[in-house]
């Protein structure tokens, strides 16, 4: 019994701790680690890669490497070695053809397809059609270019397979040039500083956060105060309505905004009565809709916090004001708002940080468009850089660098939240001794 008691906290904490550590804490740390790498979809993530591409050959040419050697690197070579013969047996060539090749040509090497075909023509059971000869060449061809090697040894073997034997120092040079694996770097940070887009995206983010916040906090206050003075049926109704966007799956909520704003949607229809031509309003005023869509969702959080803050104001304070003959507006301005300074400050700061790091709704609504970077904010740009873009190369390392800034914002946000709670009371000691 004694043992179970003492280990109980461990068993109770362990599973949750492991899960949180693996998929929450370590990713926070790894974001920093990844930001110092050149990782991308080209370099791969795990292990090393050695590839000689046209780019590699061009670079080597620039560095003054022997032209004959470089010519060889790009060449094709046809070898009837064991692997080649095995591939031939698997092809749909006649067994007799394969048998004669194995007998007469085993071990032969040809440096061009033409020479190979000439050799084939001298056979008794020669492949008759061009298609068959092609099939032989395809089965035994060896190239180095664009092939992927996992280790330096494999790369050496690859060089040997096309008949290239080089001195150790030349090999080192080749290996270095062909190395496509990711490297440690600080260039992501300097690139971020130097990039022309950084300014544009920062400006977008500031614009988005400022106006959405304005909308958010403004509507949250308005709703909290208005519903406070309403009969409870009405106030319940409005609060329930404003919570719907928050409980809806984001995909549905944004789909509805797209419907509201598209050519045949609600807005075009209503504006049609005033003689306005139908239009895709989302494309015309993307920012307006980005701010509205985010604002309508965000207002509910402030609304709930503010509403509970207003209710917490002692009613005799409000009564005293009423007896004094204060109007509602004065009551709000002189009593309620000053008492709510702290919740307002908290919501404003919290929402600022929260908006800076969120991108889900913009991704679904405009995906940063229309056009180039029109509504691209920082968080969305990190996603596009690392995980989804039209350029093909996903730059994980650079994306992680963009995410580091967001993680920083996230940490600030969490610390702020922590301040809100009376931590001493939270960690009050348990009343039963173990």
């Amino acid at each position: 019994m004694e043992r179970i008691r003492s280990y109980l906290p461990l068993w109770f904490m362990l599973p949750a701790s492991v899960a949180v550590a693996l998929f929450f804490l370590i990713p926070v740390f790894m974001t920093f680690v990844f930001s110092f790498t050149t990782m991308s979809s080209d370099t791969g993530i795990l292990g090393s890669r050695y590839v000689v591409s046209d780019d590699t050959i061009r670079t080597l040419k620039g560095s003054g490497m022997d032209a004959a050697l470089l010519e060889k690197l790009g060449s094709r070579i046809f070898t009837f070695d064991e692997a080649g013969l095995a591939a031939l047996r698997k092809s749909n060539l006649k067994p007799a053809v394969v048998k004669e090749i194995a007998e007469k040509l085993s071990g032969k090497v040809y440096t061009s397809e033409k020479k190979l075909f000439n050799a084939l023509k001298r056979l008794n059971n020669r492949p008759r059609s061009f298609k068959d000869r092609k099939s032989v060449s395809r089965s035994i061809v060896q190239t180095l270019k664009n092939r992927e090697f996992k280790t330096a040894e494999e790369f050496r073997a690859g060089l040997a397979s096309i008949g290239v034997e080089v001195a150790e120092d030349v090999f080192e040079n080749l290996l270095d040039a062909a190395n496509m694996s990711w490297k440690w770097t600080t260039s992501n940070y300097s690139e971020l500083m130097a990039s022309d887009f950084t300014g544009k995206i920062l400006a977008n983010t500031a614009f988005y956060v400022f106006f959405t916040l304005f909308f958010n906090v403004g509507f949250a206050l308005l709703l909290a105060l208005a519903t406070f003075y309403m009969p409870s049926g009405q106030s319940k109704f409005f609060r329930a309505v404003w919570l719907i966007p928050r409980v809806s799956p984001s995909v549905i909520y944004i789909m509805l905004w797209r419907w509201l704003s598209f050519d045949n949607g609600f807005m075009s229809y209503v504006l049609g009565f005033f003689g306005v031509e139908p239009e895709n309003w989302l494309n015309e005023y993307p920012w307006t809709f980005v701010i509205f869509a985010n604002g309508f969702v965000g207002a509910s959080m402030g609304m709930i916090i503010f509403a509970s803050a207003v209710v917490a104001i002692p009613s005799d304070v409000l009564h005293a004001a009423e007896v004094d003959g204060a109007y509602k507006w004065q009551q709000i301005r002189r009593i309620i708002l000053p008492l709510m300074a702290w919740p307002i400050l908290f919501i404003t700061t919290y929402q600022t940080l929260s908006l800076m790091t969120s991108f889900e709704y913009i991704l679904l609504l405009t995906d940063g468009g229309p056009g180039f970077f029109t509504t691209e904010v920082w968080a969305l740009n990190a996603y596009h850089t690392a995980l989804s873009n039209y350029f093909g190369n996903l730059r994980y390392g650079f994306g992680a660098t963009l995410a580091v800034m967001l993680v920083g914002v996230g940490i600030a946000m969490s610390l702020l939240y922590l301040r809100l709670f009376d931590f001493k009371k939270l960690v009050a000691e348990p009343q039963i001794e173990n």
């Binding site: 109770f12 959405t212 509507f219 809806s248 419907w259 889900e360």
Partner: protein, 274 residues
């Protein structure tokens, strides 16, 4: 008490500013069962044509039933993991004495408000490294882990309200702390478990970004990714269909919402959505 009369100008003003939400969700329902008319938004004719996706596949998008099944598995697994791990860790943090308890609590609280979406790039890379990329299990583990700080926090709150006397009585009767937890305390916090289950189910059911990035394969498409795929398909521009699928997808959420509104108000008050 403060006088609460209906102030018509105020009510009408609130109705106008709430109009986009009301219109969007009323027409979500209306358009899903009516013929779409390109020059009017008013329904002209009742139809079930928009619900054809229930019996036939939308070309290029697969079956909605697969997506529904995947989403159910996904959301239920997230609930199971979050509820079990939070109710043990929450209890330990609320009631047991162990080293670094204060630090653990601080960490839970810190992560509770941390915007986990900022971690998506490094989680993506880590899942690729450990071979869990593009598996439903991987997304489930990630989603559940990201929900855990919130879950532990909520459960700790519920445990805090259970009177110490119950446990003291149990311990004095000779029960172990484990038995006390399992037989005496757990039944007391069933409302907490129910609330957390519903909340994590809704969070899992709605999740979009994680499955989009971490499990992009078609076979394990979730409802959110399925619907986003329909809406973004340039060859489809059928809002009747989108809305029928959307309504089909949102039904469980709406049912939970209408039954648990008050509880949700409390929980969303500390929410982390933008």
């Amino acid at each position: 008490m403060i006088e609460r009369k209906t102030n018509w100008p105020l009510t009408i003003f609130l109705l106008i500013v709430s109009a986009p939400i009301l219109i969007m969700y009323v027409w979500l329902f209306v358009d899903s069962i009516s013929e779409i008319n390109t020059d009017s938004i008013w329904p002209t004719e009742f139809t079930l044509r928009n619900w054809r996706f229930l019996v036939e596949e939308i070309p290029g998008h697969g079956s909605v039933w697969t997506a529904l099944f995947n989403t159910t598995v996904f959301a239920s697994s997230v609930v199971a993991i979050v509820v079990i791990l939070s109710s043990t860790a929450g209890y330990a943090l609320s009631r047991l004495k162990f080293p670094y308890r204060a630090q653990f609590l601080g960490m839970v609280l810190l992560l509770h408000s941390f915007p986990s979406v900022t971690l998506i790039i490094s989680i993506f890379l880590m899942l690729r490294m450990i071979g869990l990329f593009d598996t439903l299990i991987g997304v489930i583990l990630v989603k559940a882990s990201l929900e855990l700080p919130f879950g532990i926090w909520i459960m700790k709150g519920f445990y805090d309200t259970v009177p110490w006397e119950i446990e003291m009585a149990g311990v004095q009767d000779g029960a172990s702390r484990f038995q006390v937890w399992y037989k005496l305390v757990l039944p007391q916090i069933m409302p907490g478990i129910a609330a957390l289950s519903i909340f994590s189910f809704m969070a899992g059911w709605s999740e979009f970004v994680l499955p989009l990035i971490l499990a992009p394969s078609a076979e394990m498409k979730l409802m959110s990714v399925y619907l986003a795929g329909l809406v973004n398909d340039d060859y489809l521009s059928d809002f009747g269909l989108f809305k029928a699928v959307g309504l089909f997808y949102i039904i469980p959420v709406m049912i939970f919402y209408f039954f648990t509104q008050d509880k949700l108000m409390n929980i969303y008050g500390g929410g982390t959505k933008g």
